[in-house]
Amino acid sequence: MAEIFGNFIENFPSSEEYLIIGFSPSSIPLKQRWRNNGLSADFLADYFTTFLPADESEDSSLNQHAEIKGAVSYIANELLENAMKFNDDQCDLPISIALYLGTNNLVFQITNSIPPEAVKPFQEYIEKILSSDPQDLYLEQLEKNALDEEGGSSRLGYLTMINDYMATLGWKFEKLEQKPIGISVTTMVQLTF
């Protein structure tokens, strides 16, 4: 049974224009493919900018196309970094990122597996994001990170998407039909422009 958190639309896609990139988890070690995250994110951003309606806001210093391109590049890169970092290497599920273009929005959908023991802490973190004021939580997280000498996960990816890019987020957890048990997470990020 699937578990849904936040703003997640089931039975997507609803648009004709989309692009999906897939990565087989075992083909190249994570470290060597890290650079690919940036390449893939920039490619998605460049590719989709060509579909956007003509830009009429020439007077502002950062035009709408450049703004959307920057947002796609940032969000796609963060989603890919997360997926690569938290993916369950014991699981055969490929990592995939899809980007759908709607009339006034963009929807990102990224799927990866996570180790079963990581499900609970991840869901608790999601609940915290959904129930807090994102601005307060963001500043609180920065102060907390400043005291963390170990330098663990910064936990800023989702919070910057919500605070700085006004994106809405949703998650779907599903059990995979395989042994040993596998869990897939699909993260959906919606960006309105």
């Binding site: 470290k31 995250n37 920057g70 940032y74 890169n77 970094e81 970092k85 500043l139 400043a146 330098g151």
Partner: protein
């Protein structure tokens, strides 16, 4: 002091107390950012009266990099004798979105978006 790779460059110009960042920073986690953290901390240890972070040519910064800058701002905030200026570009999307947060962390920080 400088760190230079194919994708980015961080360079400290002591004459004008400015750290210049260029290129795209998408390193993986705090381990890979350690040399940059080290460079920034060495500068802060010298207690310059006013330090400038010039980010105008930094096209891309991932959330781990935002964490590095934020940690540094919090560190400087604790040093009452040191002022901090951040120069950004209004033509780079992430800077128009995220640099304001540094000022929230340190209200006395001067943010110049050009």
């Amino acid at each position: 002091m400088e760190i230079k790779t194919n994708s980015f460059e961080v360079e400290y110009d002591k004459e004008i107390n400015t750290v210049r960042f260029q290129g795209s920073l998408r390193l993986s986690g705090m381990d890979e950012y350690a040399p940059i953290v080290e460079l920034l901390n060495q500068i802060a240890d010298q207690n310059p009266a006013n330090l400038t972070l010039d980010l105008r040519a930094l096209e891309f910064l991932n959330s781990s990099g935002i964490n590095v800058l934020s940690k540094f701002v919090i560190r400087v905030r604790q040093n009452k004798e040191m002022g901090l200026t951040v120069k950004g570009s209004e033509e780079i999307a992430w800077q128009t979105k995220s640099l304001k947060n540094l000022q929230r962390l340190m209200p006395s920080l001067t943010l110049e978006l050009q």
